[in-house]
Amino acid sequence: MKTKIKEYRARYNLTQEKLAEIVKVRRETILFVEQGKYVPSLKLAYDIARALKVKIEEIFFFE
């Protein structure tokens, strides 16, 4: 799985820590999701998309 979280984070000037705080997970989880090492639950994916003000399909890609 690939993500565009990093790009969108940069756009909104959000750190991993800040995003983690918004979606109520640990910073390491954001890091693993960002690197594509962990496929998040639908709820977490939805929360991340909402925090970054985009649709889920715009930041998560399955190859």
Partner: protein, 133 residues
């Protein structure tokens, strides 16, 4: 309370608990470690509630599930092998039969417990899904 303070407190409690339990074993006291364990659990539970930061999330739960599965698998294999070994060589030492039984039955008990909890959790989730329908 921040995460660092909580982790330091947790470490302190674990060290204290280990000291109390080991001393109680030496002294032959049964109630002291039980009381200490309950007190430690309550204290940790109360201090955990005061931590505002996220300590565990869905990724941790997934990793915990995977590690539990591997632990059960490894423990069962080792216990079964040791159980068979001790049972097969019970003629060499009179305690081997007892050891073999302990290893074999503990592996069986763990598997039964795991399957019961698995069935319970699955049926509970299934009921929740049915209720939502």
């Amino acid at each position: 309370m921040n995460v660092k303070t909580y982790l330091f407190l947790r470490l302190l409690i674990i060290i204290s608990l280990a000291m109390i339990v080991s001393n109680s074993i030496i002294l032959g006291n049964f109630f002291l470690p039980v009381i200490a364990m309950i007190a430690a659990m309550l204290f940790l539970w109360a201090s955990k509630k005061k931590v505002k930061a996220i300590l565990h999330d869905e990724f941790d739960y997934k990793v915990a599930g995977d590690s539990a599965r591997y632990s059960i698998f490894i423990y069962t294999i080792i216990s079964a092998v040791l159980g068979i070994y001790f049972m097969a060589n019970r003629g060499q030492n009179q305690n081997y039969e007892l050891l073999g039984s302990i290893f074999s039955y503990s592996a069986c008990f763990l598997l039964i417990l795991q399957s019961l909890i698995f069935k319970y959790l699955r049926s509970k989730n299934y009921k929740n899904i049915k209720n939502e329908d």
